[in-house]
Subunit: 243 residues, 2 copies
DNA sequence: AAAATCACGTTGCATTTGCAACATCGCTCA
DNA sequence: TGAGCGATGTTGCAAATGCAACGTGATTTT
């Protein structure tokens, strides 16, 4: 498959590398691409992988399933995202997560050892990539901490608000679009889907947010934008009736 | 302060390095040590740090505090642990967490840039340390995913059981000791303290576990060890009364 | 030694929330 | 075009759990 050079240039692993070398590099180390249909598994919990993946098109999700069949979505990746690095770099630990295509997706696989240690281009290439890898791993860490910030919250409302606040910061806007539908969003926040819908309606009724489909607007002291609520401003989450 | 060489040899960042070089290295890059009393903050949320820390003695915790004063414990570190690397390696992002001494602790600080890029010993030293750093960051990732496995669980019981299962795997025993007291454990699991105690008692009554202080024994199909419970084996968490 | 602080257990209560079951709607595929 | 499937919204209900308040014992401070 012909991979889009423009896209690869923007992959964080390849920052600072000359894109001319990509094709030679990929064929040298034996890179492959694969197309996945929606729902297909790319990696399975328990696998020991030796390649890292890069999303070329579509959307994929890192998920965790327990013995009762409960699914938790750890992450949702769009094109340019790299996945699997943590497990490969940790020295070949077995996957504690699965990776699944959320839509039809194309994935590029790069054999890690050969990529990092037998790269043809000389030492500059090599060290740049290692530097990129360090930064990627560190950023992934921060992302995971961000995710923990959500799931450690005690109430569903706080979880949702934290999620929205993170999206707002990323998208630099009080109106944000989530890539996740209700089902996935619930599994991402670690809550029940119906309870999530219920709470979303409450939040809208109280004028905290307004939303339509997967588009949400935070109304934290903002001018009324989407149908003013009756009551006053209720920001508190766990203390609506008391204080 | 005179740092314990034996301990430093076991720090994952220094794996494969000759300990003879440590003292020269430290004084060259300007390493410092600091003693903290229980409760003192080592790093504060919002800080931009340029040094990584290594726990020499005591115990420290990585925590997150929200605007309502709720505390979440992300991690609990014993001697030999390295902390702060993620934020430094991510390119100097502001801390989204605080680091606090859980007891009187000694901490060694290493200026990151100088450690990684102007190290006196030649290239072998340098590259070994980078390799170690990659593996550390990756392992931290896996740890965070492990933590997410706990907090995404829907019920308090499942959270506790997941935590115990992880401890059991680490300590390779069905009887485990947690470094955390009730207050901290609750903040680590992201639940209410009193609710945790309540549930622990229930679990013991049902014969799922038995515990005393911070010592827990998992009794998943194990021979009765600590006072046999009356009823049968109840592993299910959210379906005790129905099925 | 007295006092204060902290960790821990216990309990009542109201709210939250998971769970199940059902209706609706839109999309895909035959 | 019609049937089926998946995503979404809705609701009743019971259980889980956060929260506050209090008692006790241990540990630390004065």
């Amino acid at each position: 498959m012909q991979v889009n050079l423009k896209l690869l240039q923007e992959v964080s692993l390849f920052q600072g590398l000359e894109p001319e070398a990509f094709h030679a590099l990929f064929s040298c180390i034996g890179a492959t691409t694969e197309r996945y249909q929606k729902g297909e598994f790319i990696f399975l919990q328990g696998d020991i992988i030796s390649s890292i993946g890069i999303v070329l098109s579509g959307r994929i999700q890192v998920i965790q399933e327990d013995i009762f069949g409960n699914r938790a979505i750890l992450n949702d990746f769009s094109p340019k995202a790299v996945f699997g690095e943590s497990f490969v770099c940790a020295g070949g630990s077995a996957l504690t997560v699965s990776v699944q295509a959320a839509e039809r997706s194309d994935v590029l696989f790069l054999p890690f050892e050969r990529l990092m240690y037998i790269c043809p281009s000389a030492c500059g290439f090599h060290s740049a990539m290692i530097k990129n890898m360090v930064m990627m791993l560190a950023r992934t860490n921060l992302k995971l901490i961000e995710k923990l910030e959500i799931t450690t919250k005690h109430s569903l409302r706080e979880k949702m608000l934290t999620y929205l606040a993170q999206l707002a910061q990323e998208q630099n806007s009080a109106t944000v679009t989530s890539p996740l539908g209700r089902v996935d969003l619930a599994d991402f926040l670690g809550v029940d889907r119906s309870a999530l819908t219920r709470e979303l309606n409450r939040m809208q009724a109280e004028g905290l947010i307004c939303f339509e489909k997967n588009r949400y607007t935070l109304r934290e002291l903002l001018a009324p934008a989407c149908g003013a609520p009756p009551g006053g401003s209720a920001l508190r989450s766990r203390l609506p009736s008391r204080a």
